[in-house]
């Protein structure tokens, strides 16, 4: 639930407040990492979480110190670049929200905030809070597509698709590839990410032709990248900023078993 600071009919007045930050520092993939602590006095309730980190970085630079590196791009919750683990929770406390869309009104004066990169063997740290998620690209590369060449597509309405089926496929297709599912999983499994793509394509007639090959290739690649297996903890679903259902994993397993026996 959203923690609401303001109610209707109350004039919005923004005040600055203080938070105590503890953030991960690591110079490179093989360097030893450590936590650095700092208190920030100029936090405003309208700031986004990443804007709060921008302010921290401005302060650090003015003191001649290196800024804290973190990944971001669109800052509107759709590109999937940001993936901070905040107080132990991937993307922080707000359900269905990427951390770029998390606002500081969810925190209060004096809060302690710990910020870490998503930790998984398959996501090596590049610097500070930035990790290498190229394993996700390689999972898609293994089979997360429909093999249709440009120009060879048939007329779009030639094949009707049940609205309900299309809508469910869409729910899986909303994955933004941020990696929160991996960060939250005790096994560091990428099953929700992989399952979401397999379910999206497998539900649609366009994707069904290649489904058996796809599911085997993608699941094998997921294991090869060093992601763990799924033990149904369900943490992935809880932190997914797009609230993708864990039923994606069931779809993946069903299709995998089918592929094994066909």
């Amino acid at each position: 639930m959203c923690f609401r600071v303001f109610v209707a009919n109350e004039k919005v007045m923004s005040k600055n407040f203080t938070v105590h930050l503890k953030y991960w520092r690591q110079d490179g993939p093989t360097a030893k990492g450590y936590f650095e602590e700092r208190t920030l006095d100029t936090v405003n309730e309208h700031m986004s979480f990443l804007e709060m980190l921008d302010v921290l970085n401005e302060e650090l630079q003015l003191e001649g110190k290196d800024p804290v590196e973190f990944d971001y791009d669109c800052r509107e919750g759709i590109c999937g670049s940001c993936n901070l683990v905040i107080n132990g929770q991937a993307h922080g406390p707000k359900k269905g929200t990427a951390c770029c869309q998390l606002h500081m009104r969810n925190y209060k004066h004096g809060d302690k905030i710990t910020i870490e990169p998503p930790r998984a063997a398959a996501f090596p740290v590049i610097k500070d809070l930035v990790v290498d998620r190229s394993a996700f690209d390689r999972i898609i590369e293994a089979g997360g597509y429909v093999s249709v060449k440009t120009g060879s597509a048939q007329e779009a309405n030639a094949r009707p698709i049940e609205k309900e089926t299309s809508d469910i496929a869409f729910d899986y297709a909303t994955c933004i590839g941020c990696g929160a599912c991996v960060a939250a999983c005790p096994n560091a499994s990428a099953s929700l990410f992989t399952g979401a793509k397999i379910a999206h394509l497998g539900l649609l007639p366009q994707g069904q032709v290649e489904q058996s090959n796809r599911v085997v290739a993608m699941v094998d690649q997921m294991s090869a990248e060093g992601f763990g297996d799924c033990s149904n903890y369900g943490e992935c679903e809880a932190v997914c900023p797009k609230e993708i259902s864990i039923s994606a994993i069931a779809e993946m397993r069903k299709d995998y078993v089918k592929a094994m026996f066909s």
């Binding site: 791009d73 590109c79 670049s81 190229s134 997360g144 597509y145 049940e162 297709a173 366009q206």
Partner: protein
């Protein structure tokens, strides 16, 4: 320099098909001997890279993000136009063409726009075949909606995430080619220069954003699909990493930059709340279908909006434009918001906002109906602004959204440098002085899936297969050295002001003086201010960290350095264009009612600027490509 648009002869509706028939082809066994570089992997670059690789060319694709799937195309919400005419409401390719060229206020090429409308239908077929889950009716057939004031329903959409779904489709096609070994895929790489040998583009210089390594890549053709330059304003709806660097470096190597002053401002964004603000968030303009825009009539009226009675509210769009009211086009809505705020009537803590009020819609249709239509937008607003729009009006303000200007290209999407192509938002070609809603996705994919695969082949057919100069050629040496020197110079300044501080100051000048409204006086002073600030930047900027490590602020430093030069060109272009057209409003050129006054007699041309160096000031030469209209009649807009 003579600008040749290379528009094919013949009737409008046959130009592209005739051209396709007569363009040269490269035989399949020869294609693998050609290498093509794509810089940028959004809709245009991703679709182009996938398509050329499928054809058998060797492709190298570069993106600055950690994955091609994150390109800013992903953020497009609304939809993609195509004249399929599924709803049987009288749509046609001609009508889509006509609406697009009229929307661009007659400052684009007829032939390009017609081709765009023509291939749009194929885009929908292609995307559906890839598994893009467009919205469907209960019949199982594709759904359409009307968008951006169009009189027909021709927009295909995937909830509010059409850009995401189309980009993922292109990305997956690209990854299939990576797996097949037809694409060498480089993430977290930024292009710093184009390498030109004997007047022809032969490769690029890149920086590995993780290790800082400067690398050289040779190819037979280079495509820049690197998006727009809206971040010159500092605050815009663009992603934080969107930048002009690749396009600008190509410009400095001789590629002409066209219509840089054409920048679209979107009227319904969430306003700025403070200096720390890093970007602006757009809300779909469909909100204006039911919301009423107003400000208090009295200056400094700090009552709660719900306590201000109707008689004391200034519904300025409804009063000034009785027939269109709150549904006037984007530029008119944006401009009027700025005018009322400049008059001191703006609301909120900063005074830079107007109200968008749903009180009457809720009273009329009920809260549930309003929730069904706009629920996700209301939630997004509440999350960011901390106010409940069901209970009190939203506050909105215009924000920079899309740049129509870009690298000059001919009908084949090739710049004036042979072998260097530009696609998507990075070129100037299809939207004239203003872009219609739901046509950015259409253009990116049209360029990538359908235009470049044909025109690059036509170009390569005249290049001897297997031509290689080697990356130790002096042109590569020189470009690589320059790229490294620029970085070293930035790191050596060790000044006192941060990069973001400079960028914010630059953005303020550009927004105030080259933004929604421009004047001769304002533009001339903008040029002086930009020059002075640029000089200060090179003396006093603080760039942290080192060059051989991941260093995002170093990336920002060279992008901001390029924005400083681009900003001056935008001002010069706006100064040259002594008319108002599309998004470009010059205060001196308005009708008596304060509406944009176009001057077709003197300004029916594309401004294509040549770079001549920066020495305190930006030196340029202006080339003009006259726009001829054979098939449409030019009309002045009126929304009264």
């Amino acid at each position: 320099m003579k600008l040749d648009s290379k528009v094919p002869e013949g009737p409008l509706e046959q130009k592209w098909s005739q051209h396709k028939k007569t363009m040269k082809l490269v035989a399949p066994n020869n294609r693998r001997k050609y290498e093509v570089i794509f810089v940028g992997t959004g809709l245009a670059g991703g679709a182009g890279a996938a398509s050329l690789a499928e054809m058998g060319y060797k492709v190298k694709a570069f993106c600055i993000q950690d994955s091609a799937r994150r390109a800013h195309s992903i953020a497009a919400q609304g939809g993609i136009n195509a004249a399929k005419n599924y709803p049987n409401d009288g749509d046609s390719i001609y009508r889509l063409f006509y609406d697009t060229i009229k929307g661009g206020d007659y400052r684009s090429r007829e032939a390009n726009v017609y081709r765009l409308a023509e291939v749009a239908n194929n885009i929908i077929d292609q995307a559906v075949a890839q598994g893009v889950p467009f919205a469907r009716e209960y019949s199982g057939l594709l759904a359409n909606r009307s968008f951006g004031g169009a009189q027909v329903s021709r927009t295909f959409y995937a909830r509010g995430q059409t850009g995401q779904q189309l980009l993922i489709g292109a990305y997956q096609s690209m990854m299939r080619q990576v797996q097949e070994g037809n694409i060498d895929y480089y993430t977290r790489h930024e292009m710093l220069d184009v390498v030109i040998i004997d007047g022809v583009a032969r490769g690029i210089i890149t920086r590995d954003l993780v290790t800082g390594e400067i690398t050289r890549h040779e190819a037979d053709a280079v495509v820049l699909a690197t998006g727009g330059y809206g971040n010159v304003f500092y605050l815009s709806t663009n992603a934080k990493n969107s930048n002009v660097t690749a396009a600008w470096r190509a410009h400095k190597k001789g590629a002409l930059f066209a219509n840089p002053c054409f920048v679209q401002v979107h009227p319904t964004c969430i306003p700025v709340s403070g200096d720390y603000q890093s970007k602006l968030t757009l809300m779909s303009e469909s909100l204006r279908n039911d919301g009423r825009v107003w400000v208090p009539r009295k200056k400094g009226d700090d009552r709660h909006p719900n306590d201000i009675p109707d008689a004391e509210r200034y519904y300025y769009l409804e009063e000034r434009y009785p027939s269109f009211g709150n549904l006037v086009p984007r530029d008119v809505a944006s401009r009027n918001a700025k005018i009322v705020c400049d008059d001191g009537l703006g609301v909120g803590e900063t005074g830079l906002a107007v109200y968008l009020d749903f009180r009457d819609a809720i009273k009329r249709d009920g809260e549930d109906t309003v929730r069904a239509k706009y629920g996700n937008l209301f939630d997004m607003y509440e999350n960011i602004a901390g106010e409940n729009p069901y209970k009190q009006p939203m506050r909105i303000f215009p924000a920079v959204h899309y740049t129509m200007g870009g690298l000059w290209v001919d009908y084949n999407l090739m710049t004036n440098i042979p072998g260097l192509f530009a696609a998507g938002e990075a070129n100037f070609s299809d939207h004239g002085a203003n872009r219609l809603g739901a046509s950015a996705l259409m253009q990116g994919l049209s360029d990538g899936y359908f235009v470049l695969p044909a025109t690059i082949g036509n170009y390569l057919a005249d290049v001897k297969p297997g031509t290689r100069y080697g990356t130790d050629h002096e042109a590569f040496d020189e470009a690589a050295k320059k790229a490294q020197d620029d970085i070293d110079k930035l790191l050596s300044i060790k000044g006192k002001r941060t990069i973001i501080d400079f960028h914010r100051s630059l953005g303020k000048i550009v927004w105030d003086k080259i933004g929604i409204q421009r004047s001769k006086e304002g533009l001339e002073s903008a040029i002086k201010e930009i020059q002075a600030l640029r000089e200060e930047f090179w003396k006093d900027v603080y760039v942290p960290g080192d060059k051989n490590n991941y260093n995002k602020y170093l990336e920002f430093a060279f992008r901001v350095a390029d924005f400083f030069e681009l900003a001056e060109l935008m001002a010069k272009d706006a100064l040259d264009r002594e008319e108002s057209c599309g998004c470009h409003l010059r205060e001196e050129f308005q009708t008596e009612d304060g509406e944009a006054l176009r001057n077709d007699e003197d300004f029916s041309y594309v401004s294509a600027w040549e770079y001549k160096g920066v020495n305190g000031k930006l030196d340029t030469e202006l080339h003009k490509e006259p726009l001829e209209f054979e098939f449409v009649e030019l009309k002045q807009r009126s929304y009264k």
